[in-house]
């Protein structure tokens, strides 16, 4: 965190207690109990996803028992699905695909959005015009439909799905980054950097970007949630890799049996809900911690 306008007191009896930015950030974050809860839930999900093969050394596609065994019966705590696959295993392994797709799609969103937004906001003029018209083009396309077309054009595999989601969700980040860059490029310290002869690349990367990051990080967290929902929607429509277990796929596979075996749809639904909620709460907490205007609250 460079350029943060903090003034360290030299000396004196009533020295102001000074925090390092990280500590200050954590203190602000912890104050938001909901964000802490979100972090705990999300960590648990990530842990389950990372160590799935260690926790459960089985294939989630194995048919282990009678189809539609209700939760709790015969030792299957979450029951079985329409082919007799263990729902618990499917949920644990499904977390992997769901998080990988959600995370990489969000990463892609940030990369595309930040690149386009920063260039447009920094250079303005015709660069801005061109890039923003492109952004608008993507904005007016119905996102789910475009993602479906992209997945259908190529083979439905995890990378394709992640790319399709990234391609349809970057516009918000681009507009946000553009606005931040436009605002910050007029501030004194940027002018100062320019006056000592810094090149554009340095100003964009080292001067403006660190100051523009906080709202973008908050946005990225929210994008993870959006990407997870997109993945679920695509899987629900049957547009996902049939060789990889994901939560959306579980719902899509079992949606025809909703009335007879509601748990096969509701359990992965709850998992998606909890993850997206956790991610949103984390985003909220980050916002609080980053936003100076909320600090005095």
């Amino acid at each position: 965190m460079t350029n943060r306008p903090t003034t360290a007191p030299e000396n004196g009896p009533e020295a102001v207690r000074v925090e390092r930015p990280v500590v200050e950030f954590l203190r602000m974050y912890v104050r938001n109990w909901a964000a802490v809860a979100g972090f705990i839930v999300f960590s648990a999900i990530v842990f389950a996803a990372l160590f799935a093969p260690v926790i459960l050394a089985v294939d989630p596609f194995d048919m282990v028992w009678m189809p539609f065994t209700p939760p709790g019966q015969d030792g299957y705590i979450l029951g079985t699905d329409n082919l007799g696959r263990d729902m618990f295993t499917a949920i644990v392994y499904g977390a992997r695909a769901t998080l990988v797709v959600g995370g990489s799609a969000a990463g892609l969103t940030i990369v595309i959005g930040l690149t386009i937004g920063s260039l447009a906001g920094y250079y303005r003029g015709w660069v801005d015009e061109v890039l923003m018209r492109i952004t608008e083009f993507f904005q007016v396309l119905p996102p789910l439909l475009l993602a479906m077309v992209l997945v259908a054009l190529f083979e439905p595999t995890l990378p394709t799905v992640a790319i399709a989601i990234g391609v349809v969700t970057w516009t918000g980040v681009a507009r946000l980054a553009r606005a931040e860059f436009m605002r910050i490029r007029e501030l004194e310290f940027v002018k100062a950097a320019r006056s000592i002869g810094s090149r554009d690349r340095r100003i964009i990367w080292r001067v403006i970007l660190p100051n523009a990051l906080p709202p973008l990080i908050v946005n990225a967290a929210l994008t993870v949630g959006i990407a997870i929902l997109f993945e679920a929607a695509l899987s629900f429509l049957g547009l996902s890799d049939p060789n990889v277990m994901s939560w959306g796929k579980i719902i899509g596979d079992n949606r025809d049996y909703l009335l007879d075996a509601p748990w096969t749809v509701t359990i992965p639904g709850v998992a998606i809900f909890l993850t997206v909620l956790a991610v949103s709460l984390i985003g909220d907490g980050l916002n609080d911690a980053f936003n100076p205007r909320l600090r005095e609250r």
């Binding site: 194995d62 048919m63 015969d74 049957g238 025809d256 009335l259 075996a261």
Partner: protein, 591 residues
């Protein structure tokens, strides 16, 4: 062109739709709806039917109870059907019959396209030379009588003298000659009329077919949508009949109904032909053929009484729901000629499936009972070989490849595919028809099953129906789920899948397995020229034993097609023929 783009289209009849969609391209009037459909619905699967002793050993009492309920439901449906048939009341004249199908064709000329969307209205508009009852016996239709010479090389057909086209012109042997020649030139089923060398027309009511070889399926080819008669004076005036505007509008037909109105992609209205050559028929005034792609909408329309008749219903949840309705009757009758089969095909030119033992191992490793009971809710029938169980040539005494994991493993060992450190013997891929949930579920089920014997399967999802057709017809697959129709006679719909001469990359549903077996070729050759039904049956028996043993295909089951009708409204539903709804509805009446 887009065939079956809708990833949620029903597990319906890809083959039935294909020609329609292809023709739609010819006509430049393609709409995506031509081949659409949807499978959204409420599944009511009965968990009790999943009583597979291999996977779950513990008996459950509620399971038996549910099985009992299911059997009772089946019986009561059968009783309802017999009751409807038994009430021998006088057919009434008048009334409108509303039929609904998930697809509407771009045209209704059966001489240039196969496919049921063309065939169902096509057989109402155009009369064929013959019709068939439900036991494969030919009956007079446009032809009054017919005779096959002793050497089987001459077929003489006498036409009835009172038959007229919808424009009033008499139907003559010239028209018959013209129609069959159109089939020869334009219809996708090339072997159907291939032996017909020439057609003589000694007088206006006599047509003589000169054959190069005896043709056992010639009479069957004269029936339903495979042998309709179209007017030469209307359709003979163009170089390219495929582009003829009267294929879809102002149709001059020969059948019991005339075309009143056709709104592409939406509906067809047919009206009674007052000058129909069969006295007093048809009974109904009007047929409304409505396209309803969405399963749920079609079910509701049937339940409300807005629709009286539907066909090719195949989704277990739909059938379960309709079965509960006391006004409706479900019947699997009327599909034996079409003979729809679903199977798992191997690319016999690729490793490891170039080894017969590996193919047999896969066949043993799949639990067919589970597929029938759980995935298809008991509506599909087991199929054991190349020919549909409803055919007179249905396979007998062939190896059924009953579920046997140990045998599968032993065969793989024998073939030299031993397990590696992870227990995997073979890594391979499996394609499937992207046409609805049941296909996908079946594919995932097979993946899980093959894992048990050490075959690691990666499922390949095709983006759309056309992509799948392309992959399979160009032999770019290891294994694939497939659905192929028998089309009445083995000569027409079965030989094509096994003849070594019919490996034609790019053409849908050729011998995509690239199966080559001289013995099978020879037997089929003889069976294809044999006129005696019993001798043919013996030959096809032999052929099927050979093929089933070679296992270029793991045979799974029939497509669970059902015709559904409102028995309180409809008398004589079109199910008493091997052709079902693809036969003339001139005896159907409204109560």
């Amino acid at each position: 062109m887009t065939l079956h783009d809708n990833p949620r289209s029903p597990s319906a009849s890809p083959e039935a739709c294909l020609d329609t969609a292809m023709h739609a391209v010819d006509n430049k009037s393609a709409t995506f709806e031509d081949a659409g459909g949807s499978g959204a619905n409420v599944q009511r699967l009965n968990p009790g039917l999943a009583a597979d002793p291999v996977i779950w050993a513990e008996p459950k009492t509620h399971r038996e109870e549910k099985m009992k309920k299911f059997l009772v439901a089946l019986t009561s449906a059968a009783v309802a059907l017999t009751a409807a048939a038994a009430s021998a009341e006088e057919p009434k004249r008048g009334g409108t019959l509303t039929f609904s199908y998930r697809i509407i064709a771009g045209h209704f000329n059966p001489t240039i396209a196969s496919g049921t969307p063309t065939g169902i209205p096509g057989t109402q508009l155009f009369a064929a030379l013959l019709r068939f009852d439900d036991e494969w016996n030919p009956k007079p239709y446009l032809a009054e009588s017919w005779d096959i010479s002793d050497d089987g090389l001459t077929v003489t057909v006498k036409l009835r003298d009172n038959a007229r086209f919808h424009d009033g012109k008499p139907i003559t042997s010239e028209d018959v000659k013209f129609s069959i020649e159109t089939y020869q030139e334009h219809h996708p089923f090339k072997p159907m009329y291939a032996p017909v060398k020439s057609i003589d027309t000694p007088d206006p009511l006599t047509a003589v077919f000169n054959l190069s070889d005896p043709h056992p399926a010639i009479l069957l080819a004269f029936s339903s949508q495979l042998g309709v008669v179209i007017p030469k004076h209307v359709y003979g005036n163009t170089d390219n009949i495929r582009q003829h505007p009267q294929n879809s509008q102002d149709i001059v037909g020969s059948g019991p109904f005339k075309l009143k109105e056709f709104k592409p992609g939406e509906y067809i209205i047919l009206e009674r032909n007052e000058d129909y050559f069969l006295e007093g028929k048809p009974y109904i005034d009007r047929i409304v053929y409505k396209k309803i792609s969405e399963n749920t909408s079609r079910v509701i329309a049937l339940e409300k009484g807005d629709v009286d008749l539907t066909a090719f219903e195949s989704d277990a949840p739909v059938l379960d729901r309709l079965k509960k309705n006391e006004h409706l009757t479900l019947t699997p009758d009327g599909y034996s000629a079409i003979g729809p089969l679903e199977w798992l095909a191997f690319n016999t030119k690729r490793k490891p499936f170039d080894d017969k033992r590996v193919r047999q191992a896969v066949a043993y490793a799949i639990d067919k009972e589970f597929i029938l009971k759980v995935l298809y809710g008991g509506y599909a029938q087991r199929s054991l070989g190349p020919i549909h169980p409803g055919s007179v040539f249905a396979p007998k005494d062939v190896n059924p490849y009953d579920y046997d994991v140990e045998k599968a493993k032993a065969l793989l060992d024998e073939a030299g595919y031993t397990p590696d450190a992870d227990g995997i013997r073979i890594r391979t891929t499996l394609d499937y028809i992207p046409a609805g949930g049941t296909w996908k579920r079946k594919t995932e089920f097979v993946k899980a099953q093959l894992k048990k014997v050490g075959i690691d399967v990666t499922i390949k999802a095709s983006a759309d129906f056309r992509a799948w057709i392309k992959t399979v017809s160009n032999h770019e697959f290891d294994m694939t789920m497939d659905s192929v129709f028998n089309w009445g006679d083995p000569v027409i719909g079965v030989h094509r899948t096994y003849q070594s001469t019919n490996i034609r990359p790019g053409v849908p549903w050729h011998n995509t397995q690239q199966f080559q077996n001289a013995e099978v070729d020879a037997v089929m050759d003889r069976a294809g020229k044999e006129l005696d039904r019993d001798k043919r049956a013996a030959l096809y028996g032999e052929m099927q034993k050979l093929v089933v043993d070679e296992a270029p295909i793991a045979y799974l089951h029939t497509s669970p097609y059902h015709t559904v009708f409102n028995h309180e409204r409809i008398g004589n539903p079109p199910v008493d023929s091997i052709w079902g709804v693809c036969s003339p509805w001139d005896e159907v009446y409204i109560r």
